[in-house]
Symmetry: C2
Subunit: 345 residues, 2 copies
């Protein structure tokens, strides 16, 4: 990087990635290039603020992600927090720290992935900061989303009589990560390895997770959704967060939790239970939430009309606090709260 | 950190730092603890978005800052970008990445400093992310500020006939940094070293810079201010940004640029010109800008009433592009554009 100065770098990274017209339509009045961005707020809206950091060797390694995936996933994980509130993402700020020796091509690829995700979810990248650092790459994405007053979907809103739903498969990302770590192959060489083509869905789930913005908006607009969370640390952990915040108990029914064909096949080959990945595996970014049982069918119909899946996987009750898994044989086991945690182990 | 899990850490860092009442008064409807924060927007306002990153060994070292200074300055530098737009800071998100071995006391001190600055400028810390990393501490602060429509003060707004002003001393921070680097003493031992008490103002300027929020708001409300920038890379560099963005030339008059007594003394002892620090030294966070000459006196009166300094240090003209320094003998020298740049050298 020593031949690229900061201003050139900012131009390089942002140039042509999003048109002025796109930014204007998104409410940007002053974009990248001044001290800060200036954006328009709809009157009577609420803003949703969140940020998410990915660091090298903790959240990604050269053998688990391509450069463009790093950017994509950093944006996706922050956007997912907006989905988890039922919001619509609007603006992003991107803070990238990297060693001076980072090749420009690598930075370019990270930003390409980041903008690919931003464009898909119509997020305007309104600013950021690029700095050098000693150590690995750190990428922090702040996303600002919008919702109507009193419509944000909180963890604490689950009620007795609710069913628990999920918007798709979980565990795939954790299995994909395990598979890639086992292969231990630099991502530049993935294309040359036919074995790596065995589980494209698991790799995709880990490297290019899709925040469930459309599902979140549908849940918000339906008026039926009570609590909502995105699955970043496995369904057990997320269900626990809802149970604890709402002061209720949750039973998840094993046979109802959807599982992908690839995960079934992969887990079987590893001699493991798919649930090992689904309960505490990280970063699938599906939405898990609760809705009144009497509206469950109507909600499922709305999702069907929109071409989106919605699975009913459990229910809320007051018999115990915490989360249990009801097994196929009818027995129930308590699930531990702890999922993946950056500061343990 | 291995004994502190992420949730406990979040509680530890944020607990009691800002009351619920303070957050509510600031417009927060859902604070730290859910997927994202939800905040209220005033109708018909504009939002100003910015973020700023500080990384260990690049922006700070153990010999140049105390832990609390790191947090204070990370918040201050992001808040300063809001001041540079004439805005009012409202919300912040804090992303901290640190090695697992970081002592809890050190993290606590960083957050104490960060909240000290946030509270001083009435910024609500609405969320964030704490992650571990390989390498040093990286602290990214995103700040969201507010202004009225069409009132943001941009770099590109300087006009012929404007005077150039600055809100205070510059160069002190760069001199403070140089002094601390020369001493090369871990910050825990500063109190024991009488020599370090020689230049308290320079150290304060480097470790605890004050974003000029009050001055920025006064400039915005006056209606007289055209272009505005905060001095993060020295006055030559910032004047250049205004000149280039506005497509005009700027002459700075050496004798008019204010200089602190400590910098005069320090530079003299080093056998240097104070201008060496003022022109390209970084991170003083004073505001430099332009206003129509016919309103200059009125603007100075407003500042005097508010108990704030405002120095007229130059003027805008169309004779050349770029920035010149008019010396005491009447001769003028062109100033180079380049200030401190993270990606050169």
């Amino acid at each position: 990087m020593s031949s690229v100065d900061e201003f050139t770098l900012i131009d390089l990274l942002n140039g042509g990635q999003q048109t002025i017209a796109f930014q204007r339509a998104g409410g940007v009045e002053t974009g990248i290039g001044d001290d800060a961005a200036v954006v328009r707020a709809s009157s009577d809206s609420r803003w949703i603020l969140t940020c998410d950091t990915m660091t090298e060797d903790i959240h990604f390694k050269r053998v688990t992600m391509r450069d463009a995936d790093i950017g994509y996933k950093a944006m996706a994980s922050a956007v997912s927090d907006i989905a988890a509130m039922g919001g619509t993402p609007r603006y992003a700020l991107v803070a990238l720290s990297m060693p001076k020796s980072t090749p420009v091509e690598q930075v370019r690829a990270m930003y390409d992935g980041l903008y690919e995700c931003a464009n898909r979810y119509r997020v305007v990248v309104a600013g950021g900061d690029t700095t050098s650092c000693i150590g690995g790459v750190t990428l922090t994405v702040t996303v600002i989303g919008e919702t109507e007053p009193d419509r944000a979907l909180l963890r604490s809103a689950a009620r007795l009589g609710d069913v628990v739903f999920i918007t798709g498969f979980t565990g795939d990302s954790a299995a994909g990560l395990e598979w890639l770590l086992g292969k231990n192959k630099p991502s530049e060489e993935w294309d040359d390895d036919p074995e790596l083509k065995q589980y494209p869905g698991l790799i995709q789930a880990h490297c290019r997770p899709e925040p469930q913005i459309q599902a979140g908006e549908l849940l918000r607009r339906s008026g039926f959704c009570h609590a909502l969370n995105d699955v970043s640390d496995g369904i057990a952990s997320e269900a626990w967060e809802i149970a604890a915040a709402s002061n209720i108990g949750i039973d998840l029914i094993e046979d109802r939790i959807p599982v992908s064909g690839e995960l079934l096949e992969y887990a079987s080959k590893q001699g493991k239970d798919p649930l090992d990945y689904m309960l505490y595996g990280g970063e699938d970014y599906q939405l898990i939430g609760t809705a009144p049982a009497e509206h469950a069918v109507e909600l499922q119909m709305k999702f069907k009309e929109a071409g989106l899946p919605l699975y009913l996987i459990g229910y809320v009750h007051g018999e115990h606090s915490g989360v249990r898994l009801v097994r196929s044989d009818g027995g129930a086991v308590s699930l531990a709260k702890r999922g993946y945690n950056h500061f343990t182990g």
